[in-house]
């Protein structure tokens, strides 16, 4: 049996009186994509923030390659080879694309106290990495604040992919992306997996989750609802688990209800139109008869 790259044991995380995570356990092996699914507020982001060193868990253990670790900061997690795309991206709008891309992990050149940020290398790398995503960086010294939302997301993603050495964590990376860029992200995930990385992928889109996921962990109100291997579940079941089957059924009947009332309304409207049309026709006939009468009288 391989030791998992990341293993969480009974993670609890509270914010004051809010219990965001309650006894969550999970693991990701090398070369495996784990999709983390769940409703809004289920605790997905909180969970991956404990793995990436943003939050410290209230209790429970994190093991990286079998060894228990304590991350005091995201920097510690990065040193352990974990790269994360956070839901809110962690992008600096006032800084240039290159400066953003390398923030915290600047490529340096030179010696001793005279080390400096190798901007040339940085610019080239950024243009090349973004081109791989199909985004043409016109000017790497352009402020990120001037880019579109999807472009910003692509900066954050390509940055994580570039620096992710062992574990790649993506929190709703495809949310704002076009079809093409979302496809690139999914391909990145598969590539990372073939390189032997472990990937944690959070998404609300089953069409993104199912094709790349090897297993699916469902969170619900801060608790793990279970982990399912891909061969155990169908796409529909995954979708059901994401929303809860009963909820899906309820949604379906609700939608049908909508459709029915729409139809009825449409029918009602149609008869109303018919009535008006008939009345108009009658009126037209009357007018015609009247005008005929007048003409006869004149003759």
């Amino acid at each position: 049996m391989t030791t998992p790259l990341v293993e969480l044991q009974d993670i609890v995380k509270t914010f004051g009186s809010v219990i965001a995570l309650n006894d969550v356990s999970m693991s990701v092996n090398p070369g495996e994509v784990m999709c983390l699914l769940g409703d809004n507020g289920a605790g997905k982001s909180t969970l991956i923030k404990t793995i990436s060193g943003v939050h410290k868990q209230t209790s429970g253990k994190i093991l990286i390659e079998g060894k228990p670790v304590v991350f005091n900061s995201p920097r510690d997690a990065q040193r352990a080879g974990i790269a994360t795309v956070h839901q809110h991206l962690s992008i600096q709008p006032l800084m240039s694309v290159t400066r953003n891309f390398f923030l915290g992990r600047e490529p340096v050149k030179g010696w001793g106290p005279f080390k400096f940020f190798d901007k040339n290398f940085g610019d080239k790398t950024v243009v090349a990495e973004m081109a791989k995503m199909g985004i043409d960086i016109r000017d790497p010294s352009q402020a990120v604040g001037t880019m579109s939302g999807g472009e910003r997301q692509c900066v954050a993603i390509s940055r994580a992919v570039y620096f992710g050495a062992k574990i790649l964590i993506l929190d709703e990376p495809t949310a704002a992306l076009g079809v093409k860029q979302a496809g690139v992200v999914l391909r990145y995930i598969v590539q990372a997996k073939t390189r032997g990385l472990g990937v944690i992928f959070i998404t609300h889109n089953v069409h993104h989750a199912y094709p790349v996921g090897d297993k699916f962990t469902i969170l619900k109100r801060g608790q793990s609802y279970g982990t399912f291997a891909k061969n155990e579940v169908s796409r529909e079941q995954v979708l059901g688990m994401m929303a809860g089957t009963e909820e899906l059924d309820a949604l379906q009947s609700e939608l049908e209800e909508f459709a029915r009332s729409d139809e009825a309304q449409a029918k009602g409207q149609a008869s109303q139109y018919e009535a008006t049309a008939a009345a108009e026709q009658a009126l037209a006939k009357e007018l015609h008869q009247e005008s005929e009468k007048v003409r006869k009288e004149q003759n």
Binding site: L103, G104, E106, G134
Partner: protein
Amino acid sequence: MATIDRSADERIREVGILRKLLSRPELGAVSGAILVFIFFAIVAANRGFLSFRGVSSWLEVSAQLGILAIGASLLMIGGEFDLSIGSMIAAAGMAMAIPVAVYGWPFWLAILLAFAFALFVGYINGMIVNRTRLPSFIVTLAFLFILRGLTIGFTRLITGRTQVSGLKPAAEGDWLAVIFRGDIFGLPVSIYWWLGLAVLTTWILTRTQFGNWVFGVGGDANAARNTGVPVERVRIILFMGTAVAATIFAALQVIDLGSADVNRGQLKEFEAIIAAVIGGCLLTGGYGSVVGAVFGALIFGMVQQGIFFTGVNTDWFKVFLGLMLLIAVLFNNFIRKRATEAK
């Protein structure tokens, strides 16, 4: 993936040099400095504004403030303020003067003590801001009073007075004091400190890893932390920087005048911030430049001495200062919008 033919991208528009210049943070201060210079060159040329002594005098005023403004601008780009700079000047001055005058320390040792004390104060400021996440404005405002109070209290306690003088003989021939005194090529040594620090910190800010971190911490501290920047450490270093700048100022002044006074440095914290803001630093952090602050200080020095040379009542200096600040803030706001929004 298809390679992109850059020349054929219809969405690239030639960005003119003018446009590029317009989005530099220091633009306002540089053009302002040129205007102010031209103004006084016309109005006060025959009153000595352009004479060697005249130039030297406004450069010296600019230099002293400039040293403080460099520290303040770096800290502002890092998203914080330090209002304790002025009090730090007096405290550092006394930390040098009292050991020398009362306890007979060699000057160099007293200077080192003052710098050690500055690092300590900077560390405390930074640590409190880090731990509490209170606005640094408030934290350092408290230290404005605490440091001033401690300086007055201890000085009175030890010397019975509020001024310590007669330090010149001790500074004479001291190997460390020598770098804070006298002239080089007829210009006061403070000017060389100013320019030297400006070059060094500009290099740090724009060319090094630490510089990148400063922008990140000031722009969005949370995002910077998430991308692996040791935010707390950066802040502490920046607060140490402002305190050290204040101590360099104090050393130059104490050694030049041969005395220290508990009331030195009042309002310098605001002047330093004004110079930084005129120089294009955003009050919200994450944007600005040291070069801008250098020119901001230059405007300051030229106006202060220029008004003196023209013979106009120097009371008007403050009015001018306030107006400059207002214009600078409006201008910066405009530049920032330009840099981050429609382009």
